[in-house]
């Protein structure tokens, strides 16, 4: 796939051209915050985003509340024709999360058509993260601020110009008219990549972390970790790779909807009999961390956390998943596998 080059001035005009054919979603300023929202013109887009907009981009594919079916005596699927979309300006960690969610929501037997149709109609153009935030740790969990694996195209800012890695044919459509990058320009990007990555945390030893956490399952470690947890849903709702949802009926509107749900809520796993397999914050915190670092690894061979840092940054009591992982790595748990 080709690598292209473009000046800042030209790049800023590019989304305007896309707007003719696509709905473009990009980080724009919404009050005090940034959010991935529908763009009306290029000028709205915030180009230099050091840290991730708090509301994750997964909401464009798995909306927080989505109507699944309508009811008129029986339930009918809501079928929507998805407009072609460009999702622009997300960081590689968010792009990776979206790819991870494909594993969770699309299986051969029962694909989630709502997710799939939105996914197929969207071109993902991510921008490299050249000044990662304090809370960022994508390199620790197998990603990189310059990760090219999960997007249709990746844009890297170098000295006020931009290098565009076209990564799929889908992505190529948007940049077909640009000139190819020269070797000197590519070198600049590689240098920058090395420099930024060098300042980021080292990768967790995936296997050791997996085994340690499993061994810790029934230890007091989790009591310690969860003691200050409030039990709110901030970490999971803002997490780009959390996908749990609840299905509910809105009788007034005669709709069956799905809403994001959170394993941190008491009612999440509460059964009608009153039995709750995860009765306290300890089990719930454990589930969240284990899901990211153990169960995802068992299922797809990758850590399910993408290191975007949102849960670290917005947790009201500063429960830091990086610190939990580090802590688990450096402890000895009984019955630990060698």
């Amino acid at each position: 796939m080709p690598t292209k080059w473009i000046s800042r001035k030209d790049l800023k005009k590019l989304p305007d051209q896309w707007l003719k054919q696509y709905d473009v979603y990009a980080p724009i300023q919404n009050g005090h915050e940034l959010a991935f929202q529908l763009v009306k013109e290029s000028a709205q887009i915030v180009w230099d985003v050091p840290s991730n907009p708090r509301y994750p981009a997964k909401s464009l594919f798995l909306p927080q509340s989505e109507v699944l079916m309508s009811y008129d005596g029986i339930l009918h699927s809501v079928e929507k024709v998805e407009r072609p979309k460009v999702l622009f300006g997300l960081h590689p960690c968010d792009a990776r999360a979206i790819r991870l969610l494909d594993h969770a929501l699309v299986d051969e037997q029962n694909p989630d058509e709502y997710w799939k149709s939105k996914r197929q109609s969207t071109i993902i153009v991510s921008t490299a993260c050249i000044s990662p935030d304090e809370s960022c740790f994508c390199t620790a969990v197998g990603g990189s601020p310059f990760n090219t694996a999960d997007s249709d195209a990746l844009i890297v800012e170098v000295e006020d110009e931009f290098c565009v890695y076209v990564l799929t044919e889908k992505g190529g459509v948007l940049f077909s008219k640009l000139p190819d990058a020269e070797d000197a320009q590519r070198e600049k990007v590689e240098k920058l990549t090395k420099k930024v990555e060098a300042g980021m945390p080292k990768a967790f030893p995936k296997k050791k972390l997996h085994d340690n956490l499993l061994a810790s399952f029934e230890t007091d470690f989790w009591k310690e970790v969860s003691q200050s947890c409030l039990g709110c849903g901030v970490c999971t709702f803002l997490c780009p790779s959390c996908f749990c949802f609840d299905i509910a009926d809105e009788t007034v509107r005669k709709e069956r909807v799905r809403n994001w749900d959170s394993c941190m809520f008491r009612t999440y796993s509460l059964e009608a009999s009153g039995h709750n397999p995860r009765p306290t914050k300890m089990e719930r915190t454990r589930q969240r961390v284990m899901h990211k670092f153990v169960y995802w690894v068992d299922l797809v061979g990758e850590i399910g956390c993408t290191g975007c840092g949102r849960c670290v940054k917005y947790c009201p009591v500063n429960i830091d998943i990086r610190a939990i992982a580090q802590d688990a790595l450096h402890r000895e748990f009984e019955g630990m596998k060698k």
Binding site: P50, S65, S131, E134, S135, A248, S262, N318, D320, R322
Partner: protein, 325 residues
Amino acid sequence: MPNTRDQKIQAEAKRLLQDGVVDVVIGFQKGTLPYKMQPCFISRADEVAKLTLNGLCSNNLAVYLNHWPKGEKTAIIVRGCESRAIQTLVLENRHARENLYLIGVPCIGILDLQKIGQQELQPVLAVQEEGDQVRVTFGNGEKLFKRNEALHDACLHCNHPQPLNADVVIDEAGLFEDGSFDKSYLHAFRNLSAKKRNEVFRAEAERCIRCYACREACPMCYCEECFVNHSRPQWIDSTIAPSGQQGWHIIRAFHQTGRCVSCGACERACPMNIKMTYLTDLLNQDMAAEYGFEAGLDAAAAPPFLTLGEDKGKFTGEQEEDHAN
């Protein structure tokens, strides 16, 4: 770098643990980000050096008492709002006062991360409190705030920053005296037109993502089953439709009438920066005007919704007034 306030807190905590007065001390320790402190639970005397208290300690520690083993002797570091919250919790029989040891600290206010610029646009690298100034280091340089400008609204409107009914009060000056601030901002809100008031409310509520951080951060929200989780019937729209968001904020606030201690922990916990203490403040102001009641000030006075007797005489004339409407 421990300041004298921290050292005094640590010394007191150490004494309590060493003498076996308490089993655990609930306080704050340094967090993993430069602008975050983390609640901590110290049960060994050699760990007290972790304890600190500064303007970045944004939670109300009383919230932990709701799920705390009832018999455990517990010390808790309290500022004004925390002491009032505990007073209310004790009044509501959530906890026995004799099992608690309150280490009072005159409040220096809590910084508002939003006001000091913790947002997506520039990373915060360090926050330093220097007397009545706050120095914040951003990715692209430093900025100096006047402390009053950087304080959270709830602290600016706080009338009782001094800890009440504490077992010991750390000998350090607080930032304000009791009664030094008022809630005149509420008058401004009340004086807006009906349309404007609703617009403000709607604009705040519509950012809600229903994560219930406000509920969980609040010491007064301790119901086993919250009304939003109720399924038979389902009172509040489960989605992020406006009716669901508004319903949540209206009833959440209303359940706090005469109970909310205006600490603002809900607002600081909110990941979407939704303003919500004005709702409970409005209700509290009514309670103060109507019944002369303020939550948490008097260890023996129950909130107005639980005391009814004196209404009997006043009640009759009212329906005529309503007829006239």
